[in-house]
Symmetry: C2
């Protein structure tokens, strides 16, 4: 079998367009097509020659539209892959460091090919016999990683932190309000006189908390933003006061959402305090560890998220600090018996007599029906590198962030917001004119300049609060192969772009 | 570049485990790993030797657990891929025909590899410059396919029909109830005195409608099941009566969900009647065309879903009649201005000044944040085969279903439920003893026997209603390369398994 890729015909005369990826013939049909893809990826990346292609969004969209209009038949795969590669912001390039957007490991990508080719779907056993078993095994290991008892925990693979956070809040809502009680959205326009459900989360938490509250019919204003300290962590006293005020007003504290690793700074809320307040007020504790969950892989960093096992539910994202291609979200609950909202009998998917005959079903664990076997690539990665190997990658990114922050602090024209907690930090360029609006404009402009010139993909955000002077640049270091010199060059490019903006 | 796959070292001595898939070095790192995957896929499929591996779920799970415990380091990718392939229910096998679970096209799988390797994320332009443009272009083409004006329509790629249906119902709810008005779930336990939101859908509609109503805080009992005819289509008079009764009771008809292609029989609700009743009662019309949307690819079958363009929103699933690996869901709305619920400003993803500078953002179109570029594989497939080429695959599956139904009708021990509409039909085996409970037991048992013996993956469902005698088997024919002889042999295997069950 080792010569498999060598035996196939060249792509141009390749298999008919309607060849399938499965069965014993699938690998032969895939061979010339994969060769085409690899060549086009190399070609597109070579033409790009950096973290992204130079040009405006409109220019790039015009390129794509042209290829979209021209590509046809045999040549479509090559041409579209080439334009996708050329027009990507590639997180494998050291100068692409804006978002929680990781460069995937080649081994995870290869594993994901097997999933595409076989196309298991996790909504019934008879669409995914082995993949069902594998997801269950993987979730047991991830529950242990979090510190849950795997015999009591349960979970599911998700599309990411947003879906996981939604699931945590759904369980919290339904524990209080009931799933099928037919309680109705009130239409009178006058707030009900009964207790109002409330969700507590920090002002620096992910926007998906508000979005979930709206989706769940609780309204965005069910979310009570709790003030943060200057490291953007929830203030314990402020949380206690908000909960106390909620109860005094006759309202109902449904959930506390603590963040273990905020998107911008990696800040970790005081998890143990959140857990004891949740217990005191009878609220569900969900920990959004989409980013900070990566610390669990590193002996050195794991203490940062100490207390996470006290949560009723947790979000993890292995497409962040886990180096998986999207999607690799994970939702875990501490006690399987609290995971009832989605239990569902579909006569065509999980009839009762099949379950009694030993056919397991994951249908009732997910918001989705058809569902890709995203557990597979994670399982392969974990088996290939081990927790230790992955922990070394986490540590490398953490160290890189510290060296980048030190370089910022050492530069007279750069201002550091705070030392990195995980692998990201905020900073800004300081122009001559220190008017806050001017500083904001220069920083936003220099970032777009770097994009337009194809030099760098740097993050940009705003500190919580009101008024000018809150724009910050961000480096999110997720490429473990990036060197400290490369981070230094990236910061030099930021300064050069800032100077150019000042000269406009 | 054509020799790329040939130059790499063999997998066993391959690249370090931490090699990345991106950049100019990615293709070289992927080469030996992909070779390993292709060989393991062929090996696993060969050992399986049929639609699925023989054995009980417990036996198969034990196999997986053993490999899971043993696989390690260099060997993990090969061993886990092998066990995944061996333990798959492979829709590329002609005897795997249970679900809307398609065998993917090799070209779509190859395209999906490019997405895994480059890892664009659709939540911000600077994580997906080309992929953002490509998704927008593709959605314009799909809007046209549905019959929408692409200049007025909008949409997004989703994880599948369940997510798309949820989005349609969310827009319907928010149009009536408002997104951020802070309206509250009533906690008194006494139904409110105001009008209650109601959703109308057929008794044969997908369970995700009820699930969505629960998730959205409307309660499952907000869904009014409308009676169906013997072809499992919504009865127009029954829908009109249900709407009229709703209004008479002072309740609010929020949405009608029509199905274009039910999961079990492919039944298409009377779309034009649904549209005029929706207009008359001011309700949102969502058409779940996750399955039947495939008819739009075929000149011959497109009339089956005539009137679909009258819907306010539509679900399509190209991982059904579209031959894509999961996920390839599509949600479309007729008028972009009705698509406001998710509009969202995240300072770190789509700041206003970036949008003003021409940087587009798809963030506000999706329930997700991080989001894989599933549009790419669809775009490549559409460019490679064209609508016409895909339409031929749809027609082939449609003809196969008709020949299968004719074979059922011709067999004295098989009973057809109804002629196929799209590519699926229901039937059952008739044992000697025609007691309804006995017939159900034999049919459920023969299906598990076929699974256990590794002979076939046949669907099983129940007709709507109460009481015994409603269990049916199902063939869902999605493999365009399957022959009529192979379908005949599959039916013969069903009969043989039925006889064996009778002899127990």
């Amino acid at each position: 079998m080792a010569g498999l890729l060598r035996e196939a015909a060249p792509a141009s005369s390749g298999a008919p367009h309607t060849a399938l990826s499965g069965g014993t013939g699938g690998p032969g049909a895939l061979t010339p097509l994969l060769r085409t893809v690899l060549a086009a990826l190399a070609e597109g990346a070579g033409r790009r020659g950096g973290p992204l292609a130079a040009g405006t969004p409109a220019e790039l969209a015009a390129d794509v539209a042209r290829v979209f209009a021209e590509a046809d038949g045999d040549d479509a795969l090559r041409r579209l892959t080439d334009v996708l590669a050329h027009g990507s912001a590639d997180p494998a390039d050291p100068a692409c460091a804006a978002h929680l957007h990781c460069p995937p490991l080649a081994v995870a990508v290869a594993a994901d090919l097997a999933v595409s080719a076989l196309n298991p779907s996790q909504d019934s056993w008879d669409q995914a016999p082995a993949a069902t078993a594998m997801e269950t095994l993987l979730l047991g290991e991830l529950a242990q990683l979090v510190g849950y008892d795997p015999a009591e925990a349960a979970g599911v693979l998700t599309s990411g932190g947003t879906e996981s956070n939604l699931m945590g809040l759904m369980l919290a809502r339904d524990r209080v309000l009931g799933r099928e009680t037919g309680r109705q959205i009130e239409l009178s326009g006058v707030p009900g006189s009964g207790p109002r459900p409330r969700i507590f989360t920090s002002a620096a938490a992910h926007f998906s908390v508000q979005r979930s509250a709206a989706l769940l019919g609780l309204g965005e204003d069910a979310v009570v933003p709790v003030p943060v300290d200057d490291q953007l962590r929830m203030k314990p006293k402020a949380l206690a006061a908000a909960l106390s005020a909620c109860v005094a007003e006759g309202d109902l504290p449904v959930a506390i959402v603590a963040t273990a690793g905020t998107t911008d700074t990696g800040a970790v809320d005081p998890l143990r305090t959140c857990a004891s307040l949740a217990a005191q007020y009878g609220a569900w504790l969900h920990v959004d560890a989409a980013y900070g969950g990566g610390a669990l892989l590193s002996d050195r960093l794991a203490p940062l998220v100490g207390g996470i096992a006290l949560a009723d539910s947790v979000s993890l994202d292995w497409h962040k600090l886990g180096w998986q291609p999207v999607a690799a979200g994970i939702f875990l609950v501490k006690r399987a018996e609290t995971y009832a909202s989605l239990a569902r009998r579909a006569v065509y998917l999980n009839p009762q007599d099949d379950e009694e005959a030993g056919y397991p079903s994951l249908l009732g664990l997910s918001l989705r029906t058809t569902r890709r076997a995203d557990a597979f690539k994670i399982a392969v990665t974990l088996r290939t590198l081990g927790r230790e190997g992955l922990g070394r990658l986490v540590d490398a990114c953490h160290e890189l962030a510290h060296s980048g922050a030190a370089a910022v602090r050492a530069h007279p024209r750069l201002e550091l917001h705070a030392d990195p907690v995980l692998t990201a930090f905020l900073f800004r360029y300081l122009p001559e004119n220190t008017d806050p609006e001017h500083i904001d404009r220069i920083n936003a402009g220099l970032r777009r300049r770097l994009l337009r010139e194809g030099r760098a993909v740097v993050g940009r955000t705003e500190l919580p609060g009101e008024g000018p002077g809150r724009v910050r640049l961000k480096l999110t270091l997720l490429n473990p192969h990036t060197t400290t010199d490369e981070v230094q060059r990236l910061l030099d490019a930021v300064v050069a772009a800032g100077r150019a903006e000042e000269e406009l």
